[in-house]
Amino acid sequence: MRKNIRTLKLLTWILGTGFLILLPFLIPTRMHVAVIALYYAILASSWALLAGYGGQFSFAHMAFAGIGAYTAGLIGKFIRITSAPTGACTEFSLGNWWLVIQDTASPTCLESAKATMPLGTLIIKLPPWLDITMGILVGGLFGLLIGALVLRLRRTYLALFTIAFAEILRTVINAERDVTGGPGGLKVAPLFPNGASIGNHTFSPADKLPSYFVMLALFLLVMALMYWLAGSRFGLFIRSIREDEEAAASLGVDVVRYKILLFTVTAMIAAAAGGVYAHFVRVIAPNMMVIKEMSIVIAMAVIGGMESLLGAAIGAILIEFALEQLRSNITVGPFTLNMADWRLVVFGGLLMLTLRFWGNGLIYPIIQRITRGGVGEETVAKRLQQPAANDSSSLPDAEGPESVP
């Protein structure tokens, strides 16, 4: 029986991955939505790891994605590598190369220095993978900081603290127009500045397909990493912290270390998603960090199933496609429903109903039904309903949920 389940699980994974790889051939016109859906899937499932597994209800997840995006964007805007010193900008020597920072005090220093630099001097931007990596590191640093600051705060206090952090960050990015472009947005280079070629087919930088595969690779990598983490001691420990922090500490779980680690890892994942997203959409604005975006990610995770990484990811993908599909207006008799707004009403209502009636989400129970192969029905709860049938086999301490004092 156990072996069967394992094969079934493996089969589901292979089928799911294969489906996502073949998706561009099924819906070639909707690649933009597909990339955004994967972006939300990464965010929702990493939030599920943070909140569903670890019990840390952080509202700063979009802020970490924003940190990743803005780090990538700002590096692209301000930092260049040259093969000769400019003599005008702030610069650091790296052997034969120079790292040039065009700060806001002298935004045109590189332009004016071009005249004096020797002929054939190379001026290059950092490649996207490098600035995304920098974004991940900066996101991780912020995650570490926030994780360390919120150690003593629980539930509501944690939620309020993280909301405040996200709002402060968004406000600063909004206000400092000279550096970040403010609400108008910051231009970011495309993911493949010179286009990409697979086989003998060449894609232009504007093509969505290469970006889709980059986002898909990130998604699969992140899912593998999170499943490994959730299945390891780390996953066990953070779940024990969620259930009862003091009890976990008394049994030898290093609560401080694992909570900070959890924040750092999920912040890095969010920052990675944000960095790729920035290079994909090519204009990022502080609006990507507003509370509405955070609500959407939370709702996706909740509807998918907060305690399941895969459930949250599938939920995110389905909901993103559904939201895009529902944009067109519906006319019923004399009334025209402006679906651009009403779809979010439906979505909010669905979130509340899911929370109220299906605490495990809508997708997770289905996944369980498939992967457990019928074993799930033989649960403690079932056994308790028929105590006479297998009296000897039922555990002595399995006497239903503990009574609430």
Binding site: T171, A175, M352, L355
Partner: protein
């Protein structure tokens, strides 16, 4: 600013020694076997106020903490900051014009009293149900919207006060309905993790209400003219007027100027505040509410139904937010997402005042109102001043949560 570096270096100096004080002081107290309670707070204040000298003296003598120490060092730190600002920006209106500062503070107090009223609702909910409603700002928004439709669209001939009453009734019923449908299952044990559930479900309600309103009324800003025109009075007439009233504005002592819609809102807030205090301290139901907030089981033993009190508290909390919105709809233009900053402000206020503390909520509201008014008036670049407005409260929230999570008047955790 003419010399911005003076201000920024002073601020950096205050933060540096404040942080050092907050980190090291508890360890010094612990090593000397003294009571370490709130020594991080004291250390940060002393560090910011008196720098390294104050900190070394504090670590040598390690006095027992009293409110006097905190208040004194906090005021000194504020004084340094104000002095640095005055030196850095001698041409700023906040430095040169006393009447401008007085007007800003007075307007901050007026708006702050409405914020306080709204936060009072949130703190009432927290003290009875033990949850923070993330949809509080949406009740505020709905209060304003109902008033707009009542006074401008449906019944333009009736008194605007009836519009406020309609808003109160609507938000009260909405709060009661939501509590019965979604929060009641928490206490009857139908929800697995009530604490987390409450955060998420109120968050979902906020999203739902916001987009329902947007879909129904559209995104264009709604405006309500001021409820009352005051008669023209000047006391005494001639020079040296104490009060000068025109239909749109009130001027006190020739210096402090408050627009009349704000003044009306202040009056409504004060009436509501006293009505609430009367209700909570003099009526049976109010006493029952306070009893439940102090001890659920004991209250239940004496014959109070805690479940009904939950519904009442949530409905009352929503109603207070709704009335705040209804009285401010004549001051600001109203859009469906006006509740988002309002929610954030309420969070700041209840954390600052202490979660569950009624006087704390009102005083916290006044403090936040003044901080925002001074921040908006004194930051030199007007674009930046407006853009940074949401951040001031959030910085207060972060600092309070880090240094003194119980707030000014909160119960000990």
């Amino acid at each position: 600013m003419t010399h911005p570096s003076i201000f920024w270096y002073t601020l950096l100096w205050l933060i540096l020694w404040g942080a050092i004080g907050a980190l090291i002081t508890p360890r010094v107290y612990a090593r000397k076997d003294k009571f370490t309670h709130q020594t991080a707070l004291l250390g940060s204040f002393i560090g910011a106020a008196l720098g390294p000298i104050g900190l070394i003296l504090l670590w040598i003598f390690t006095p027992q903490l009293t409110a006097k120490w905190l208040l004194g060092s906090g005021l000194i730190a504020l004084f340094w900051l104000a002095l640095a600002f005055a030196k850095a920006a001698p041409e700023n209106l906040c430095v040169t014009s006393g009447s401008f500062v007085a007007t800003q503070i007075a307007n901050g107090l007026v708006i702050g009293s409405i914020y306080g009223l709204m936060a009072l609702g949130l703190t009432l909910i927290f003290s009875i149900l033990g949850i923070v409603s993330f949809a509080h700002g949406e009740f505020y928004m709905l209060g304003g919207m109902v008033t707009y439709y009542f006074t401008q669209v449906w019944f333009p001939d009736l008194s605007p006060l009836l519009g406020v009453a309609a808003a109160a009734l609507f938000t009260f019923l909405l709060g009661a309905l939501f509590e019965l449908l979604f929060l009641r299952p928490m206490i009857t044990g139908q929800i697995e993790r009530p604490g987390e559930y409450a955060i998420l479900v109120t968050f979902g309600l906020a999203f739902f209400l916001q987009y329902t309103t947007l879909s129904l009324v559209g995104a264009s800003p709604k405006k309500v003219p001021r409820f009352f025109d005051y008669p023209k009075i000047t006391v005494p007439s001639g020079t040296g007027e104490i009060i000068k009233i025109t239909p749109g504005n009130l001027t006190f002592f020739d210096t402090i100027s408050i627009s009349s819609p704000r003044f009306t809102a202040l009056i409504i807030a004060l009436i509501l505040l006293f009505a609430l205090l009367y209700f909570l301290y003099k009526t049976w139901t109010g006493k029952a509410l306070r009893a439940v907030s102090q001890d659920r089981q004991a209250a239940a033993v004496t014959g109070i139904n805690p479940k009904r009190m939950n519904t009442l508290a949530f409905a009352l909390g929503g109603m207070l937010a709704g009335i705040s919105g209804a009285s401010l709809v004549q001051v600001f233009s109203w859009v469906p997402w006006v509740g988002i900053p309002a929610s954030s402000r309420s969070f700041v206020i209840i954390v600052l005042g202490g979660m569950g503390s009624l006087p704390g909520a009102f005083i916290g509201g006044l403090i936040l109102g003044v901080v925002e008014a001074l921040g908006a008036g004194c930051v030199p670049d007007p674009h930046r001043a407006a853009a940074y407005l949401p951040a001031y409260g959030m910085i207060i929230l972060v600092l309070v949560l880090l240094l003194k999570p119980t707030g000014l008047f909160g119960r000990e955790l």
